[in-house]
């Protein structure tokens, strides 16, 4: 699959179907933007792309997921496209056959409503957790300790089986958060540690990619604005102090894009290493994108502080991304511990390196 073509296709569709105007209107009311996009993504085969071929998908892997995730961030798209890109390969590969048969086809068609634990890396203590997704979700994916408590597993619970969801008002108006309460007597499926690692890796990559897209979009808008806005008798964009800030963001964007690309290369040989690179891509890209959104709001001046202007949407979206998957400071330390252990082993990174070439 040519990733450039995929990007152009997804970007074209989202520019049309998920314009800024629609996103803003949708955030003011309970619009049907999410439902429409989800179904369209199913019709266009987007959800199948990241499901392995032997399980009924197209097998383009997490690289394709990242390309679509990035475009979703650029368009400030509602959450369910990204959630289905995450849930479909997990259902296909890790769900018990009965569950898979009940839900996978509807997921691929863009019909399934899923919510996913925002703290997927580390299980939340207690029965209540914040999930990404609407309160009408049919399935919830969440992290839970393994029976012995020594590791973490991915859990899947059907909404009829003992989980109650209520909407939570999120600061990010472009996506929905809910609070899921798992009842004491709930019946849920343990999908195992491997499923958990896969979920963490893919959600980290999708979140990183979302931030990367949002970052690029707001920087482009800011460059355009500074190219027309005049003060002191000249275009604001002609001031070197402002130019350098955008140039720095541009350079760093390339770097974070490369990190996500590297982390999204399939590397089953060492799952801990693969997960560490994905989590690191998430912490680095989401932190940098939140900084870029701050810079852009500041560079817009007072207009950027208004509700009508889109700056705050990007700031809030990139802020939420920082908090998804797990806390960035904690995750970076975990990555540091893994990477400093694994990479010092001779030839630990050899195969990945050759794959890049």
């Amino acid at each position: 699959m040519d990733m450039k073509l995929l990007r152009e296709h997804v970007s074209d569709v989202l520019r049309r179907e998920c314009s800024l105007d629609r996103v803003q209107k949708n955030s003011e009311s309970t619009g049907d933007l999410d439902l429409n996009l989800r179904k369209m993504a199913g019709d266009l085969g987007w959800i199948s792309m990241c499901v392995p071929e032997e399980l009924g998908g197209l097998g383009f892997g997490s690289r394709a997921a990242c390309v679509m995730g990035e475009e979703a961030g650029r368009a400030l798209a509602p959450e369910s496209l990204t959630i289905l890109l995450l849930a479909a390969p997990l259902l296909a590969r890790h769900a018990p056959p009965l569950v898979r048969d009940r839900y996978l086809d509807r997921a691929l068609a863009g019909e399934l409503r899923v919510a996913v634990d925002t703290s997927i890396e580390t299980p939340t203590v207690g029965l209540e957790r914040v999930v990404l997704g609407a309160a009408d979700a049919e399935l919830v994916l969440f992290a839970l300790p393994s029976p012995g408590g020594e590791s973490v597993e991915l859990g899947l619970i059907e909404s009829a089986e003992g989980v109650s969801l209520r909407p939570a008002e999120a600061w990010d108006p472009t996506r929905r958060l809910s609070v899921a309460t798992i009842e004491e007597a709930a019946i849920f499926h343990r999908l195992g540690e491997e499923a958990h690692r896969a979920a963490v890796r893919l959600m980290a990559l999708l979140t990183a990619a979302d931030s990367l897209g949002a970052w690029d979009a707001i920087c482009r808008r800011t460059v355009d604005y500074l190219g027309v806005r005049e003060q002191f008798g000249r275009k604001l964009g002609s001031f070197q102090a402002l130019k350098h800030r955008l140039a720095s963001l541009h350079a760093d964007h390339h770097l974070k894009s490369a990190l996500i690309e590297f982390a999204s290369i399939e590397d089953a040989a060492d799952p801990v290493l693969a997960q560490s690179w994905a989590l690191l891509a998430k912490t680095e890209a989401t932190n940098a994108a939140a900084f870029a959104s701050e810079e852009c709001l500041q560079l817009h001046g007072a207009i950027g502080f208004t509700w009508e202007h889109e700056c705050h949407l990007f700031l809030k979206r990139t802020r939420l991304n920082q908090a998804l998957v797990g806390d960035n400071d904690t995750l970076r330390a975990i990555c540091g511990r893994h990477l400093t252990s694994i990479l010092v082993e001779p030839a630990a990174h050899q195969d990945v390196l050759d794959a890049v070439r």
């Binding site: 390339h254 770097l255 894009s257 070439r357």
Partner: protein, 392 residues
């Protein structure tokens, strides 16, 4: 000595062949041996290594066989850099101009006679230097004042060049001088292949903040240069100079980042062996992760840029991005290594390139790269105006 083509005749992959060549030809334990060596001794050692590299065909791997090169592909050159970085062979920074700027410029702009005259020497390791910057022409390179005045069949060159690395020992210099003082700034400059043994050339070392004196000033006093030392059109040297810098295609940045990646990992390995305190500090582990991520990202970014077949992303505008990010990451790595090394980092120790064994040396050394080849501030202007299209 094994030459580069031999391993392939034995059915090994190119990478395996290079790896075998490196294993049997690269000196061992050379860093330990050079710790207390004088600058002269280090340079002698590096010249010796360069002649080994040249004999293997690796000095300028892509140079065509007609000119004494190995005629390897660009991708093969990348493999050579990777394998030498992995094996920690001695650095070849001293021969940077020899390995990239000189051959690429001469291949693109040289006459057949110039190619025959200079390229075989380059393939066998002649040391070249660069004479671009002047006291009043740094970021504003086109402001150079060194002049070359026609005098019969000769040009008389007068002026002063600065920041010219290893020119003390150089055999030739890539020199920019003004041949037409009346033309607009960029249109009166010519590009010379200057023989450094000519009378009237005085080279005086400049001590740098690292304590070393790689740099020299070059004083040119009525240096009589033959007309055939001009490369490219007379008065058209500005364009030649641009293509010299562009032709490098990120290979130097690639080599630096690749070597730094391995040096930083070796640094972590030593820290593990010594049970250094910072490996159990959450904040320091987080910082180390960020730096590893940045280095890995930079490796991926430059590979994307240098690998010829990848057309999935728009690559125009990447050179200034690579310049800024790669040099600033190197500075951050040096800063980190200083902080986790504590007071030991403040005890003087000589260094070679950025190998993480002398943290303060490394740190000061990194400014050489954030400043040279267009300061990072000039690069930010280029990104803003030419890539992002912001108003001048």
């Amino acid at each position: 000595m094994l030459s580069v083509s031999d391993p392939r005749e034995e059915g090994l992959s190119f990478r395996e062949g290079v790896r075998r060549w490196v294993a049997s030809n690269a000196p061992r334990d050379w860093r330990e041996q050079l710790v207390d060596a004088s600058e002269e001794e280090v340079e002698e050692f590096l010249i010796g290594w360069m002649s080994t590299v040249s004999a293997g065909g690796f000095a300028v791997p892509t140079l065509p066989p007609d000119f004494g090169g190995a005629g390897l592909s660009f991708d093969e050159q990348i493999v050579i850099i990777e394998e030498m970085a992995r094996a920690d062979t001695p650095p070849l920074d001293m021969f940077m101009v020899t390995r990239t700027h000189a051959p690429l410029t001469i291949l693109e702009w040289g006459t057949p006679e110039q190619k025959q005259k200079y390229l075989p020497g380059i393939a066998s390791g002649d040391l070249w230097c660069q004479g671009f910057s002047e006291p009043n022409a740094g970021s504003d390179l086109a402001a150079i004042r060194t002049s070359a005045r026609r005098e019969g069949d000769l040009l008389l060159v007068n002026g002063q060049k600065i920041w010219s690395s290893f020119s003390r020992r150089a055999r030739y210099c890539l020199l920019l001088a003004r041949t037409n003082p009346d033309a607009p700034k960029r249109e009166g400059i010519s590009y010379f292949l200057l023989d450094m043994s000519l009378p009237g050339i005085d080279v005086r070392p400049t001590r740098q903040a690292t304590c070393n004196s790689d740099f020299s000033e070059i004083f040119l006093n009525d240096v009589a240069v033959p007309l055939d030392a001009v490369i490219g059109p007379v008065d058209g040297g500005w364009v030649v100079a641009q293509s010299t810098l562009a032709a490098e295609r990120g290979v130097l940045a690639f080599e630096r980042v690749e070597r730094l990646w391995h040096h930083f990992i070796r640094f972590i390995r030593r820290a593990k062996a010594e049970r250094e305190w910072w490996l159990s500090d959450q904040q320091k582990l987080a910082e180390a992760a960020s730096l590893l991520g940045s280095l890995q990202a930079e490796r991926t970014l430059i590979r994307r840029f240098v690998s010829s077949e990848d057309a999935s992303t728009d690559l125009t505008g990447l050179p200034p991005v690579i310049k800024i990010t790669s040099t600033e990451i190197a500075q951050s790595v040096a800063d980190f290594v200083i902080r986790v090394s504590g007071i030991r980092s403040q005890l003087y120790r000589n260094g070679f390139e950025q190998d993480c064994t002398s943290p303060m040396f490394d740190y000061i050394f990194t400014f050489g790269n954030t400043i040279s080849a267009g300061t990072n501030e000039v690069m930010r202007n280029i990104i803003a105006e030419r890539v992002l299209g912001m108003p001048r």
